[in-house]
Subunit: 247 residues, 6 copies
């Protein structure tokens, strides 16, 4: 791999940006985490609600859902507020559906009881990879919230089946690379998001080649990069939740 093209970020093809996860950053939320992945900063909070969506009423089953937003100046040039525009964009909806599905994939909704946990992921600053950072940080907030339910006796069984973490990969000048910054993402031929469990199994792959197509070997190389990176992220999640690091 000596001949790898120089990435705009100067990072190695398999090098993650510095990650920092800070917990208890919100006085009110049942769980909270400010995740920083380089210049991408996402504030994740978990809120427990006693109401479930109507399709779950009287089933004894719970739900985990996510909402995602960007502050207007989280981006290089100011982005108009979705509240002002009066609607949530297609991109935002795609992202919040992805985060919700990913977190539900590791949650036993039956043990949760008839309650709903909202994971709000608000991007304070964006530099690529906000949706994957939101999943990784959102897991922390979710974990804190369910721990609180366990500790207060609201639920009996710890409902999380595994850790979950996510990263983006891409193909830059024909080579798979890990964790694209905004400038790299804009120039990549392929953009792929991988959501993986603590055991390394796949929960979601979204891989898009708007400018080009890609091959099966390239897919596998990206998957490998993602597996290595999420192993590291899961390790970080465990330490922060265990109180071993105070971020």
């Amino acid at each position: 791999m000596n001949s790898m093209p120089l990435r705009p970020s100067g990072r190695q093809f398999d090098q993650l940006r510095p990650v920092k996860m800070e917990i208890n950053v919100n006085k009110y939320a049942e769980g909270s985490c400010l995740i920083q992945l380089g210049n991408t900063h996402v504030l994740c909070t978990a809120s427990i609600d006693t109401q479930v969506p109507s399709f779950l009423r009287n089933t004894g089953k719970g739900w985990v859902t996510a909402e995602y937003g960007m502050l207007p100046r989280s981006t290089a040039t100011r982005t108009e507020r979705e509240a002002t525009r009066g609607k949530v964009s297609g991109r935002t909806q795609e992202i919040q559906r992805l985060i919700g599905r990913s977190l539900r994939a590791v949650t036993n909704l039956n043990s949760l009881g008839e309650r709903q946990i909202f994971i709000d992921c608000d991007v304070l600053q964006a530099d690529g990879g906000t949706r994957t950072a939101a999943i990784t940080g959102g897991y922390i907030a979710l974990h804190q919230a369910v721990m609180r339910l366990v500790k207060t006796g609201m639920i009996k069984q710890f409902p999380l089946l595994d850790h979950i973490a996510a990263v983006s990969c891409g193909i830059y000048q024909g080579k798979p690379v890990l964790d694209l910054e905004y400038i790299e993402d804009s120039n990549a031929e392929v953009d792929a998001n991988f959501v993986l469990t603590g055991r390394g199994e796949i929960v979601e792959i979204q891989s898009t080649a708007e400018k080009n197509s890609f091959t099966q070997p390239q897919l596998l190389q990206m998957l490998e990069l993602a597996q290595k990176a999420t192993r590291y992220l899961v390790e970080q999640q465990k330490q922060i939740l265990a109180g071993l690091v105070t971020s």
Copy 2:
């Protein structure tokens, strides 16, 4: 593969539903195709517009975009109209973004000139796999529309770089299967959509495991099923466009 579980549809794990593509089904559109994949029926039309989105004005470049809709009774129970609800759902937006990206991936937007082609995909009847059928049928409508531009001298170079077709796969009782009907889709552990070019390269993978996770070997098996099926679909596209079949 003798021990394969019986699919609810009774089909083999690698068996596609009967496909039928009928062209010129609309008197006005620059291209049109009614694609039937078993009980899934999608009407695709191509409309050429002389206006491009604002970010392309004065660039000499064109655009391909897609819109997707379901008739209220395309579904087993009636679905409320999005026009009545006053907004396009997140699911619809995800699908129309996917169709648009997929078709643009095989279109040379520079040769298109400063014009936009709308691909409208309206589901008359739904039984699983509407979004992938829309891509496969939408390609036919797009092809007809650009041929018209070429024949009338509006553009000089045929702008389509390759064929494109899509199928869904899933994991049912632990085994990868091809082309899920609605009843199968509801019970599958994993739901995956593959968009592939005529050369078999990948343009988009969306693979979701809401109930479970899956492994790399399972991903590869699904990809293989998809490659075989899209080879067949591309062959059908070529015949219908060559006038070899009249549907």
Copy 3:
């Protein structure tokens, strides 16, 4: 009437376009009819819902309502989707209110019991007269749906009091003519829609002269044309419902 002006369509002043009604065109709906009136094609489905509008709750009475939509490329140039615009236009609302009122006029809502029937009328291709075609075809779908309720014992008394059918008329170069195509409609001085029962009585007249005014004799001549045409359409409805024609 030898001196009649030549209609753009080449038809006689009292000549209807070829009519074709195909039933059972939708696998799920309780009733369905694809009505083709020349190049005007409208897909009508009937859906039975167990919920009535709030003003009828606990009255034992049912309701028939209609919704109307046009596919974007049902028109000569593409029309923006109402779902995308985020609201139903005034024209669409006028039309769906007209269809609903017309069908209710021949329905005994008391015999229907506390249930609602939605008649969805979606225009696949438009060439004038879509609203009247929707009423004529919508009646077929409604008839099938109520027959199903009768056959399954859900209701005891057949609730339809009469047939209903509709046509448009107009005044073209000063003379009343029947069933205007789009090109004729655009040039007519007066545009009139007549909804009549099987017995020839009037349920609704909407007659508009934006470019001119008209006289009582002209109104009567148009009404006569409409009565003759709807007698024919009602005859067709009877045959298709009796299975005498398979369309």
Copy 4:
């Protein structure tokens, strides 16, 4: 007609409610009229705008359009504001389209020049017949506005081709009656609105039988009632515009 059923209002079958039209009721508008038809009170204003709708730009042609609204407590029980609900109802849209078409039918849009006149019709109190009162009163406001254009030399030719006035009729206990109050309208079998010119020609008929159907002779009787009533209303318009009555 001795055997006529007693109308709830106690009026004769062909008796109009007392009409009063007051002009110059608004300090700013280019034309204004408060029309009172019994307990139905509609405030009509005309506003001249230098912008025409986009389809008329650079055609030299003008436009007349109407908007209609009801104050929340114009009705017996309070009606929610359309502004609060965030959308204009189908009924309102139907009415404002009707008023606009009716006024345009007697306006030479070419002589108007490239300007638009808004006729705003706001119902202060409603007791049946608000849409027809709005047309009759709206004509007054329009007349004043175009007179102002003529007097100030903005346009050369007086653009109104004829007067226009409207009334409602209905069939009550099988008999045609004129000018229904709310209580009568609720119990009528047929509800019909007639818009007629000063010469007695028809511009618009909207006749609806939700509870029943009606016959050709009944239609003609209603038309006759309407012709007599609008002759009277046109006479009133002439007097108020000539300054012969000060209302």
Copy 5:
């Protein structure tokens, strides 16, 4: 105060415009008042509703709320309808919140019982000071509505604790002046609204200096002008409610 600048209106610095309040101007409402303050005309109605907002259900407590609207041609140039724009502007919301708060400040919501009173304030003609006129006139409508509740035995205790009235003040060429007309308001450096009780205590002050700032002595001078003017308005309210003036 000889050196006071001449106000555009020609009024003295402490001179109110002629006030006229007419009651019983609406046939249906439980209370109604047309208040005219010079060329500012606001129609206020009170409607009693048996439903309270959800946060008050089963509390035995009532609510008073207000809505505000402007007819399109209440202004010098036509203002687009909020219903047409599909949303209530920020200005309108501010005003209706202010009117509601002000009226609630003098209402014992407990004595009202579990019912809601809507005060609708619709501006027929605007010339500055519409929000303060709406409070003064809205009080009259509210008073009539609660009197009706008392007289019919629906409530036992008269729930209004005091009168309430409002005026605007401003600073014009450095001097505090009372009751600004539109032309004065546009040129004033400071715009202030005072809502005061019958006893002269303050319920609300909204004082804004977009072009300049102001001092504590100026604030006190404006408050004094407002106190004198609202004393007069409260006196007028008492007379009109006592039937001493018939307006």
Copy 6:
């Protein structure tokens, strides 16, 4: 003042919560400040836009505007996102209009040139006083942005005429107190916001007594508290902008 009632916060009647302003907290914005007033945390950014609102085009004049938002879990219980609800609430609009007016009051819009500065104020955590904190912190962001315009030669004259800062006051158990926390605000009889310049002059007063009324002496006591507190806040602004404190 020995007999002052104990405030729920334990603070003295004239005691401000600890204030902390941190600048340069956003990588992209032209100015940014995270202001913390006890548990109220507001992130303020300034964004320079080359487009002015349409009413200012070609006037050479600039504009300062503000937007305000709350993260869903900035509050004790989760608040629904305004983007999800599809509209900006009346409260939010009131607040953002207040912030904008306040900042414009100290800005020479002519020296700004034809550009617009957006001040986005996003509440990360709310504990009372978010709107006043947003004004105080928004001034810092605005100051940084205009300094950048001056330093880069985009504008010649420093356009800020004075500092501006804001605090809330209230009347608690009959006594004026400074800077209410949420728990105090809920129990206060009067809620007042004061926006004052560096010189101590008044730019805006919004004082509301929903539960009670208040007197002129009480108004003056609150104004005095506000003047003292804003003097302190302006001093802090000067130090942070001078780089004397690094927060």
